[in-house]
Symmetry: C2
Subunit: 91 residues, 2 copies
């Protein structure tokens, strides 16, 4: 899947990401993929729920994937961080 | 599904919940369901990833559901909180 319809969830306010999703759907995308890692994972779920409950009622979470990514720190040490990808699809 | 194989993720250290999952699998359960809400959602993903990558390699996340639950506060106000349910299944 291309990154054109991906929304990367960071530490900004939830509504910023909600707006990004709505913009993609209104621009004609049938699928929007929310990607997050670490502590932003719960924010990604918030975004998905707010989008479908309040703004784009036809959108449903069609696929949810979780995974692990190694991150190399400043001193060369590697830690693992959890990731999530939530695909919201309009029927 | 009964609650016998549910692990509720709160704010304790991740390894506490990892141990709870391992215990259930070793006790013969074929499925363990991790349930979390709010900020604990990212911890639930951590638990699922650690269990399957480090301890129970046959376990895969067979189903991941997200949702919203209304919570009534002390003063009668209601806020919505996101939830996740991750089902880990042994093949």
């Amino acid at each position: 899947m291309s990154d054109e319809n991906a929304v990367y969830i960071g530490s900004k306010p939830v509504m910023n990401y909600v707006l990004a999703c709505i913009t993609l759907f209104h621009g004609g995308k049938k699928e929007v993929v929310l990607k997050a890692r670490g502590r932003s994972i719960s924010r990604a779920v918030d975004v998905a729920e707010i989008v479908r409950n309040r703004f784009v009622s036809e959108a449903t979470p069609s696929e949810i994937k979780i995974g692990t990514e190694p991150i190399t720190g400043e001193h060369g040490s590697t830690i693992n961080v959890s990731t999530i990808e939530i695909t919201l699809s309009k029927e």
